[in-house]
Amino acid sequence: MKSKLNFDSRLGICFIGIILVLTVISFFYTPYNIYSMNIAERFISPGGGHLLGTDNFGRDVFSRLMCGAKFTLLVAGSTVCIGTFFGVILGLCSGYFGGIADECIMRLIDALNSFPGILLALVMVTVLGKVKYSIIPALGILFIPSFTRIARSGTLQIKNSEFIGNARACGASPVRIMFVHILPNLYPSLLTAIVVGFSNATLAESSMSYLGLGIQPPTPSLGRMLFEAQAYLFNAPWVALAPGITIMVIVLGFNYLGDGIRAGYHLN
């Protein structure tokens, strides 16, 4: 059992580690300048001078991948943080207090859930004007409902357990009960949600590129690279495959890590 747990975690850490190392290296060094264009080297296939080939501007795909992962991790990470933070607080309150509070919070969540993200993103871009990462709060808000639901249903399931009753009898405040007693029990399902949320945020960022609302070019992000590469899918598939596979590695890594950590909880 023990070795299994370690295997999952190790695999996850290994995947994420590779990406992180590439990201850290990109701060100091990339094989080629990620912005410099050279049309003589347009669409070079992988291998040779360029490890993963070049794109439509003759830019080195591998170098852009290293930097792109950095911005993707930033956007996805921040999005999930915002979503988890507000989602958990709202979900705990909603589930624990019930009644009017529950009703109000859940209606708001429903409303948010059916509000078109594109509209929210347009609003954010307008309100935040020149702020570079206006995509982060927009995506963050859109990710709140799912975390709220998970936290709420988890809270509902355990709030009447014996140990919660005991805590209440000992005079623990609702805040203490929610965060000290209930929250730790939500970790397993939250972890799954965070991992999935992380991959969804990565993908959402790339969908936003369609509207030009994501990371702005020429700065690379994995999502944007994937989006732009679609136009060349048939004559230069590597330009799309490289960021696509990188996104996959990141998501897989987080999933394995999540499994490993969860297995640890079950053992305890």
Partner: protein, 318 residues
């Protein structure tokens, strides 16, 4: 009865909240639909004429109130971009999206539950790991990318369907359903992956509990324990998940509608926002809110059917 009344009231409240949020958003974002129609060569006089013709010369709050009162009397107004009634536009598209979503949901249920249970049973074996990896890869492919790969593989290489060859249900019902199959699969796949993982985790969690050991000790077979005892308990969190998957299917189908060229609600919504078609956006957003709220209501009810303890508890606390 009181419960039902309360639900109906909150239902209306949610819809109102959504329409209000949309109205506020339209107050903030720039853009003039008349100018979108006329383009850069429009003169101010031309703009003024079109504003008057389209009823855009009135301030937004007035138009919102008119839409709101119209909504309660069943009149959703006229689309600015298409100059057709909003009702007929939505009525033509909603069935398409519902069929697409229904097909996707069916695929998810039919595939994910058996696979999830199977994985839980074969926990930590090579088969489980393999299936786990396959589902993980599924979930990590962006929706639009998956759609394009499907068109390329099934449409262009294997010629299972003609890309862009969408036909209306009324013209050719078989062709309609055939065309929708691959988009539905593209919508379903990432959700299947999430569902399988979730079901597997939920089952494994339940199988560690005491009652399962008791059931085994009574001499029940593997499958009997799984399907008679564990399934019901394990499905509680899964039902919540399906609630989320429902809205997920709707959002997923938006992009898939774009990629496959299906004239559904999602594509209409994007166009209407980008063309600042206020009455159409308001109506669509409220429709989508209806679907989301009803889906969540169903989940709540299912929740209580499966786990009656929750109702008793929430009854106590409120």
């Amino acid at each position: 009865m009181k419960y039902a009344l309360q639900k109906v009231l909150t239902f209306i409240l949610t819809l109102f909240l959504v329409s209000l949020l949309t109205f506020l958003a339209f107050n903030i974002i720039p853009g003039d639909p008349a100018q979108l129609i006329l383009g850069t060569s429009a003169s101010p006089e031309q703009l003024a004429v079109l504003h008057r013709q389209l009823g855009l010369d009135e301030p937004l709050p007035t138009r919102y109130l008119r839409w709101l009162t119209g909504f309660f009397s069943g009149n959703l107004g006229t689309s600015i971009q298409y100059s057709v009634s909003v009702r007929s536009l939505i009525a033509g598209r909603l069935p398409v999206t519902l069929v697409l979503a229904g097909m996707a949901l069916l695929l998810i249920v039919v595939i994910s539950i058996p696979v999830g249970v199977f994985c839980a049973k074969k926990k930590d074996t090579v088969v489980d790991k393999l299936l786990g990896t396959v589902t993980m890869i599924n979930v990590s492919i962006p929706n639009f990318f998956l759609g394009i790969l499907f068109i390329w593989l099934f449409g262009i290489i294997l010629k299972c369907f003609t890309p862009g060859g969408y036909v209306d249900f009324t013209d050719d019902s078989k062709g309609f359903l055939t065309y929708l199959f691959f988009p539905a699969l593209a919508v379903a796949l990432p959700n299947i992956a999430v569902a399988v993982k979730f079901i597997r985790t939920s089952f494994i969690g339940q199988m560690k509990l005491d009652y399962v050991r008791t059931a085994y000790s009574k001499g029940n077979s593997d499958n009997a324990v799984l399907y008679r005892h564990v399934l019901k308990n394990a499905l509680v969190p899964v039902v919540t998940l399906f609630g989320m998957i429902l809205s997920e299917i709707f959002s997923g189908s938006i992009i898939i509608e774009q990629v496959f060229g299906i004239p559904g609600v999602g594509r209409l919504l994007i166009n209407s926002i980008l063309s600042r078609d206020f009455p159409l956006v308001e109506s669509l957003v409220v429709y989508i809110a209806c679907v989301v709220v009803i889906a969540n209501l169903l989940v709540d009810i299912l929740f209580q059917v499966i786990d009656p303890r929750i109702r008793i508890r929430s009854g106590q606390s409120s």
